[in-house]
């Protein structure tokens, strides 16, 4: 049976990822460290679309507003997990990155010691949510550590 010391929880705010968070806490033993990789998907870069008629100040205001919103969401997310980690006496190490979720995860696994990766399953068809997938065939082929994919909550 696996007794991971370093669990990497990868999430970017979807309901599937929240299910993975619960599973990761359940798997953490007393001396385990929970590394939390939060990916802000890079599709946000294209979220000004083909806006052409606003002036620079309106675009700046919008850019700062979206950045602020994303930052607040991430901050709330980390704070919530930090509280749970403290309650379970688990070492919690959050890390926020911007990019393609699957690519960021591969890079994180390659960079540091990880015994187990915990991920949420992709959103089933018909469920609403942002389209930014972390569990891809490319990721599964590249994994060299065990991975637990937690089912999407019913």
């Amino acid at each position: 049976m696996l007794k991971p010391k370093h669990i990497l929880l990868a999430s970017h705010g979807t309901p599937g990822a929240r299910a993975a968070e619960r599973a990761a806490f359940a798997l953490c033993g007393p001396k385990a460290t929970l590394h939390h990789l939060i990916v802000v998907p890079d599709f946000w870069k294209g979220m000004m679309g083909d806006d052409w008629l606003n002036n620079a100040s309106t675009r700046d205001t919008y850019g700062r507003y979206v950045e602020g919103e994303l930052e607040n969401e991430v901050r709330r997310h980390i704070a919530s997990l930090q509280r749970q980690a403290a309650k379970h006496r688990i070492r919690y190490r959050p890390e926020v990155v911007f990019g393609k979720p699957e690519q960021c995860l591969r890079e994180r696994i390659a960079r540091g010691r990880v015994d187990l990766v915990v991920l949420g399953a992709p959103r089933p068809k018909g469920k609403s949510g942002l389209r930014s997938y972390m569990v891809t065939e490319k990721l599964l082929r590249a994994l060299h550590v065990p991975a637990l994919i937690v089912p999407y909550p019913a």
Binding site: G46, G49, D50, N54, Y62, Y65, L130, R131
Partner: protein
């Protein structure tokens, strides 16, 4: 922050442009030009190749050998590579892909039974946007080109500003009245329907606010302006912008196909595209796709576009007040500040150019649609370098054909106008021309006779050289701007279309497109 990146690419792109211009000038490209039937474009190939190439080379040298300091110069220097990158893509599309696609369309016509390039409007404007979309989604915009690609919107704004020169008072008066009524009705109607549907489907006020601005006014730009005012959540923004981009791109392809299938004239199509397409960036694309060889449709569409852009600050302000009344988190807004910050300043440039144009600086003051009346012998009879004389006055044989059909006319004023034309061998005044065009529009005469009359109209109306130059510059500004905007439409953002915004957006988008089509077909029939 230093924006300029050390890259050899600006220099390389500049060298490619200059080398191409030289090869065209020296005749090395002659076989290719002959094969593609682009000899008419050789002039612009040389001028644009040299001008843009030299600028890119100079900027490339500065980028390579200087150490930039923080400031405006550094930022603008960092954009030159991206601007050159867009231009290269636009050159390839306009000078190679466009003529090649047209040749393929004709070649495949016997087998397919229709010209696919013409039916699907695969001209340089549509292909420029598609090329931009392919570049950003398949190959990615290079790092060194990102700032320049973002600057491409200036191309569109400059195009709109310069477009002001081409309107006459008469045109603007006719179009402005029509556009205020149509846009007013559809903007307020779609904002109202969105908010009503949102309330029925229990969506948050913040989502209703950002969605109604996007669907009602001018698409992505309105959502960008409204999102911070109504405290939209990140997912609400993503859903809304994804939905609008999806609709915008779809409409840009579908509108010209439907417009042609329904036999719409330039005014009808311009009015429909300017009202019915959700995203304002695609209005110019659809108008140029419908009429790639002229800008009459673009002129109509852009008046409608400008009218709805002028609604933007008003709607944003109204949404801000609406949101504050409903939500405790809403912050009180300063009305003057919102109006000032959201006002599209470039519209003032358009008005300024229009006023300049109407003083007669660019074309004789009595010009109409950029053309002026002149029936003097100097204008009608021309001798070229080889001594060949071209006489545009009515030929005797044509006069006989018109005489033979004169009895078909019922109206006395038209009979008199035709008799005068036959007697004088040319159109004698703008009023006389109006009557002659009236005969053509009444479709009483045979096609052959109507063609003779059309030729006589064209013989006395001349395009001022400066106006012709403006037309070319405007067409290039829009081509450049739309290719660059294509590079900002990512599939990743379109894929975010979903949730309630997709449902409401689909209903409102369809109602707006179909509703404006019906209204335009019923009430807009005249060519302005």
């Amino acid at each position: 922050m230093i924006y300029t990146k050390k890259t050899p690419w600006t220099l390389i792109l500049g060298i490619i442009m200059v080398a191409y211009a030289y090869m065209v000038q020296a005749g090395i490209m002659e076989p290719v030009i002959k094969y593609l039937h682009t000899s008419k474009l050789a002039g612009e190939m040389v001028i644009l190749g040299y001008t843009c190439g030299i600028i890119a080379i100079l900027a490339g040298l500065v980028q390579a050998f200087s150490t930039p300091k923080q400031g405006n110069f550094d930022y603008y220097l960092s954009t030159i590579g991206g601007l050159a990158f867009i231009l290269i893509v636009a050159f390839i599309v306009k000078w190679v892909l466009d003529p090649q696609m047209s040749a393929w369309g004709k070649a495949a016509q016997p087998a397919l039974g229709f010209n696919f390039a013409s039916v699907m409007n695969l001209n340089y404007v549509v292909m420029g946007i598609v090329a931009g979309i392919i570049v950003v989604n398949v190959f990615k915009v290079p790092h060194w080109a990102e700032n320049g690609v973002r600057m491409s919107r200036l191309g569109l704004k400059t195009g709109v500003v310069l477009l002001g020169v081409l309107y006459s008072w008469e045109e603007l008066r006719n179009l402005a009245g029509l556009s205020v009524v149509l846009i007013g009705f559809f903007v307020l109607g779609s904002v109202g329907i969105t908010l009503w549907m949102g309330a029925r489907r229990n969506i948050p006020n913040s989502m209703g606010g950002v969605l109604s601005a996007g669907l009602g006014v001018c698409g992505v730009s309105a959502s960008v302006a409204a999102a911070p005012v109504v405290n939209a959540k990140s997912t609400e923004i993503a859903y809304t912008i994804g939905t609008i981009l999806l609709w915008g791109v779809m409409c840009m392809f579908l509108f010209p196909i439907v417009g042609k299938a329904m036999g719409m004239n330039y005014t009808q199509f311009g009015a429909w595209a300017g009202t019915g397409i959700l995203n304002s960036a695609q209005v110019a694309g659809a108008a140029l796709a419908f009429q790639p060889t002229g800008i009459e449709t673009l002129k109509v569409a852009e008046i409608f576009n400008i009218t709805r852009i002028l609604f933007l600050p008003i709607i944003v302000l109204w949404l801000a007040v609406w949101f504050v009344k409903r939500e405790q988190t809403g912050e009180r807004v300063n009305l003057g500040q919102v109006m000032f910050a959201k006002f599209p300043v470039f519209v003032l440039g358009f008005i300024l150019m229009f006023l300049l144009g109407s003083t007669g600086v660019f074309a004789p003051a009595q010009h109409y649609q950029g053309k002026y009346f002149d029936n003097s012998e100097k204008a009608m009879v021309k001798t070229d370098k080889d001594g060949k004389v071209t006489d545009k006055r009515l030929k005797d044989a044509d006069a006989e054909k018109l005489k033979a059909e004169a009895d078909k006319l019922q109206r006395e004023d038209q009979k008199a106008a035709l008799a005068r034309l036959i007697q004088e061998k040319k159109v004698m005044s703008p009023d006389h021309d109006t009557l002659v065009r009236g005969i053509v529009n009444s479709k009483v005469l045979s096609k052959e006779a109507s063609d003779i009359l059309k030729k006589q109209h064209e013989a006395v109306y001349h395009t001022a050289k400066k106006i012709a130059m403006f037309r070319d510059i405007i067409a290039w500004m829009f081509t450049f701007g739309l290719t660059g905007l294509g590079m900002q439409i990512t599939m990743a953002s379109i894929k975010q279309a979903g949730g309630q915004p997709l449902v409401i957006g689909s209903v409102v988008g369809t109602l707006k497109a179909v509703g404006s089509l019906i209204v335009v077909m019923l009430f807009v029939s005249e060519i302005v």
